[in-house]
Amino acid sequence: MPPKSFFELMQWGPQGWLDEMTFATGLTLAVAISGFLFGLVFGTIAAMGKLSRRAIPRRLADVYTTVFRGVPDLLVIYLFYFGGSAMVTAIAQKFGAQGFIGLPGFLTGTLAIGIVSGAYQTEVIRGAYLAVPPGEIDAARAFGMSGWRLLRRIIGPQVLRYGLPGMGNIWQLVLKESALVAVVGLSVYFYEVKLGDLVLIYETRFSDLLRQAHVAAGSTRQPFVFYITAVVFYLLLTTASTWAFRRAETWATRGLRQV
C-alpha cells in the first residue's frame, strides 16, 4: 500500500474514510445522548437520596456513587455486557429458551454509561442544590409546593443554573466514554459480500469515533491522519455542545447578577 495523501484518505465514499468517520461521529453522539439522559435519571434519583433526611436512601445513594465512581468504567461495562447477558440467558433458560441470548450492545452500553455518569451527575446536582438560596425553597413550601412540583418549578431551574457548568463537564466525559462501549461492540447493520461464487454475510460493527480512528489507522498505517481527524470531529461535537450549554446557561442564569 503506497502512502496516500490526507485528501485521498479523507474523501467521501468507498475510496475514502470520511463517510465512516462521519457515521462514527453520529454513533458517538447517539451513545452519548442516551447515556447522558439515563445518567440524568439515575443522578437525580441518587441526589435526592443523598439529600434525604432518611438514613436508608442516603446510604444507598452513597454506596451507588462510591462504587460506580470508584471502579473503572470499563469494568462496569464488562459487568453489564457479560454479566447482563449471562443473567438474561439464565433467566430465559428457566423459561425454556435455548442457547445464548446476547443483549443488544447499544442498550447495555448506554445503560452502563448511564449508570456511571449518573454517579457523577449525583454530585453535581447535590452541589447545585446546596447553592439554591434556602429562603426561596421556604417560600415555595409556604405556598403549598412540595414533592415533584417543588422540584420542577423552583429547585430544578435553580439547580440547572448552578449545575450547568458541572453538567457540561459530565457531558464532555460521556461523549468520550462512548469509546469504551466499542470494547463490547456495537453491531448495527449487516450486509452481503460476493466473493467469487460465494456469498458471505458480514456483520459490520458500526464503530464509534475513537475506535473508527483506531481501525482506520491500523488499516492504513497512517495513525496521525486519523487521530487528528478524530480530534477535529470531537471538536465539532464540542463546538455544538459548548454552544448549546452556553445558551442553556444564559437562559438558566437569567435574573442572576454576574460578578
Binding site: R54, T66, V124, Q172, L210, Y234, T238
Partner: protein, 240 residues
Amino acid sequence: MDFTFLYTSFLRLIVGIPLTLQLAFSSIGLGLVLAILLAAMMRSRLLPLAWIADGFVFVFRGTPLLVQVFLIYYGLGQFRPYLDEMGVWWFFRSPYYCALLALLLNTAAYGAEIVRGGLQSVPHGQIEAARAFGMSGFTLYRRIIAPIALRQALPAYGNEIILMIKATSLVSTITLMEVTGLAHKIISETFRAFEVFFVAGAIYLAINFTVTRLIALAEHWIAPDLDQASRPIEVGKLSH
C-alpha cells in the same frame, strides 16, 4: 471463586499503585493551579486572555484524553529533530513526563470549568459588600469569593479527582505499567478477564473510597454551617 488466583493477581497489581498515585496526584496538584489561572483568564476583561483560556479549555475538554496522550507522545515524537533543537527532547522522550503533561492539561481544562461554575454561584451582594469595603483583586478572591465558590465547587471537583485517578489507566498506551496496564498483562497471560478486573476494580475502589471520604470531610470542614441535614430535600414526600 479461586482465591489463590485473586490473591496472586492482587500481589502483582499492587506493584502498579505507586505509579497510579504519583501520576494522579501530581497532575491534580499542578492541574488545579492551572485551572484556577484559566478560570481567572476566562473571566478576564482582557479579551485575548479570555480567548486563549476558552480555546484551551475547548480543545482539552473536547477531545478524548486517550487521543491527547497519544498525540503528545507519538505525535510529538514525529518532530524529534525540532524538539532536539529546542532542547526539550529529554522531556518528550520520557513516557512519564508525557503522561504527566497530558493528564495535567486535561484536568486543568475540566477544573477551569468547575471553578468557573463555583465562581458563578457566589451571591452578588456578598461580593459587593467586599468591594464596598475596599477589597479587590487577590484579597477579594482569597477571602470572599474563593471560600464561597469552593463550597459549591467541591462536590464537582471531587468528581474530577476521582476521574483523574481512573484516567491514569490510559497511560499504559505509552508503556507505563500502572495498575490497569498490569491487569491487561495478567489477562493476556491467563484470559481470566473477569477476576483480574475484579481485583483491579477493588484496588481503584479502595483508593477512590478513601478519596471520597476525604472530600466529604473537607466539605464538612469548609462549610460547617451548611450542614446539609438542616436543609434536606423531602424525598419521602415526592410521592404526592
